[in-house]
């Protein structure tokens, strides 16, 4: 008899539900809140909030030397949604020369380009190179040491 390699199921099956106060925090104090509005459902699911299409959503880790332009940090978690069609302004994970690289998708002189957060790197026209978009970055999660 022998032991088997054990493999785990894919990501969290159990929604993580957090109870939330039914009183919404309001910016400013103008007027009385209508009793009919502002009552959300009584559970918030962070998974459902960030992962719109589980079948097309992948997680990646950030690594690199010049992330300030994008407000990213080493080891941040990227939530990448392949179901989205990339539009100018989107942050994307792109395949450049056999590597996965985070860039911003922009129009440059009427041509689609991948732009770096650091001016040191020139924009890469999307038509050239071995360069294609892998998926659209929907969110970045930065965790603080606690």
């Amino acid at each position: 008899m022998s032991r088997h390699a054990l493999y785990r199921p894919r990501q969290p099956a159990m929604p993580l539900a957090l109870p939330v106060s039914t009183i919404r925090i309001r910016a400013g104090l103008s007027g009385f809140p209508s009793p009919a509005q502002d009552y959300a459902s009584d559970r918030l699911d962070l998974n459902a909030h960030l992962v719109k299409r589980p079948s097309a959503t992948f997680f990646m880790r950030v690594s690199g030397d010049s992330m300030d332009g994008f407000g990213m940090h080493e080891d941040d978690l990227l939530i990448i949604d392949r179901s989205l069609d990339p539009r100018p302004g989107h942050m994307v994970a792109a395949l450049v020369d056999g590597e996965i690289i985070v860039k911003r998708y922009e129009m440059h002189h009427g041509r689609p380009c991948l732009v770096s957060g650091n001016p040191r790197y020139a924009p890469i026209p999307l038509v050239e190179h071995d360069c294609q978009i892998w998926g659209v970055v929907r969110a970045v999660i930065h965790q603080y040491p606690v």
Binding site: M1, R3, R10, M14, R61, V62, D65, I100, N118
Partner: protein, 425 residues
């Protein structure tokens, strides 16, 4: 109409999604313990590497042609397979997984244009959402859909092929299709048909189905009907089981207790192992799945599945059962009520042609003989005295030997510590 969605070179494609540098290079995936090749990229096929070639013979290719040989990563393949299925289910109501990389999809109530449009959508969307390239074949029967799928892989079809029951394209395709390529027609059956003067799918299609039934049995006569465009094969027919064995059933009621689920999975695993021995196959991997009732919107939904790779190809009920129950423990979550569950045995190989590789996990001769004798006795008792006369309870956990998986890629989608890294610059 039935559609068959087949993931192209599935294991290799899974690897390439996260390792773009593998694109365009010859890639092979190795069986457990890095024994032999079980999946090949087109480039590796072009170098003349067949399925089942022992890894040590390929050392030359890795140095001379830059071929990359990877250890199998069933955790990744299982997750990607579940994703492909989920994408299909968003677009089409009737999706039946046939193996880890093939799924049947019902194409009902559509005209010719609608059928083609849906086929193209499935083709495009699976690729976009999961990164896995697929071929889609659609036809009036499963057998023809299989052939349509093969045709779809040819360049001129660009991944999608729709066949009608008797169109010119169907006839042309059948006349150049070898018998061995037909679903459910194995090598031996093809040889017997050849001796009877039947050499192509077209000839088999026109053979008198009564005579075929008398001489070759009912399953082949159903294949004849299927080739004519009359749906006659169910998912659990022998033709369907040859390449993978699925035992699953609705529980009849919602169950949530691990004990009850174990009982159900135990039965499915044992039935599957029995079928495996009947057709003289061995399996390399076992998949267990559960499903909550999809139409009960009032209940939380959960449809997990998990693949476990066997140490060596096996038909031993005890090992299969142990793997299936281990998988069940891992996917079961409290708070869900399940309607359906089952076991799939796949990556099957022919027991008669299997030779123990030097690199396979060791099993002594005497141990193998004892296992064979035990299984034969078990099957005989159950056949003569009724099913489940002898069945297994809890198997004892086995001893371990370290698995060789020297070259396994990361489990990119299922482990926090192994996520892909995206560079920023």
């Amino acid at each position: 109409m039935f559609g068959l969605v087949d993931c192209n070179n599935f294991y290799v494609s899974c690897e390439r999604v996260f390792q773009p540098r593998l694109e365009g290079t010859p890639v092979g995936v190795l069986s457990n313990n890095d024994g032999c090749v079980i999946a090949r990229s087109e480039e590796l096929k072009a170098l003349g590497v067949g399925m089942g070639v022992p890894a040590f013979r390929l050392r030359d290719l890795t140095t001379r042609h830059g071929a990359v040989l990877l250890s199998s990563n069933y955790e990744l393949y299982g997750d990607m397979s579940a994703r492909v299925q989920a994408v299909l289910e968003e677009l089409a109501p009737g999706v039946e997984p046939y193996s880890i990389d093939e799924m049947f999809v019902r194409f009902d109530g559509l005209d010719a244009d609608g059928t083609l449009a849906l086929a193209r959508r499935l083709h495009r969307r699976v690729r976009q959402y999961t990164g896995i390239p697929v071929s889609v074949g659609v036809a009036p029967t499963r057998t023809l859909a299989k052939l349509a799928n093969r045709a779809a892989k040819k360049e001129e079809h660009d991944g999608v092929c729709v066949l009608t029951a008797d169109g010119p394209e169907t006839r042309a395709l059948l006349s150049r299709t070898d018998l061995k390529e037909i679903w459910g027609v194995g090598r031996r059956l093809a040889e017997r048909l050849f001796l009877a003067g039947i050499r192509t799918a077209a000839q088999l299609r026109h053979a008198a189905s009564r005579a075929i039934r008398r001489r070759f049995g009912a399953p082949l006569s159903r294949t004849v009907l299927e080739l004519r465009g009359i749906a006659a094969i169910e998912m659990n027919d022998t033709a369907a089981t040859r390449q993978r064995i699925m035992t699953s059933r609705s529980f009849g009621q919602l169950i949530h207790e691990l004990g009850e689920l174990r009982e159900a999975i135990r039965q499915h695993a044992q039935r599957g192992a029995e079928k495996l021995r009947q057709q003289r196959s061995l399996c390399r991997a076992v998949q267990v799945f559960l499903r909550t009732p999809p139409h009960r919107v009032d209940l939380p939904q959960y449809a997990p599945s998990l693949v476990i790779e066997m140490d060596r190809p096996t038909d031993d009920s005890r090992l299969i059962l142990q793997a299936a129950l281990a998988a069940l423990e891992r996917i079961h979550r409290r708070g869900y009520r399940f309607l359906k569950g089952g076991v799939m045995l796949f990556d099957l190989i022919d027991a008669d042609h299997y030779q123990l590789s030097l690199l396979d996990a060791p099993q002594g001769d005497s141990e193998r003989r004892r296992s064979e004798a035990l299984m034969a006795t078990l099957d005989r008792l159950n056949r003569h005295l009724g099913r489940d006369t002898v069945a297994f309870g809890m198997p004892r956990p086995g001893a371990a030997w370290p698995l060789r998986c020297a070259n396994r890629s990361h489990r990119w989608t299922t482990r926090w510590a192994e996520l892909p890294v995206a560079k920023v610059h």
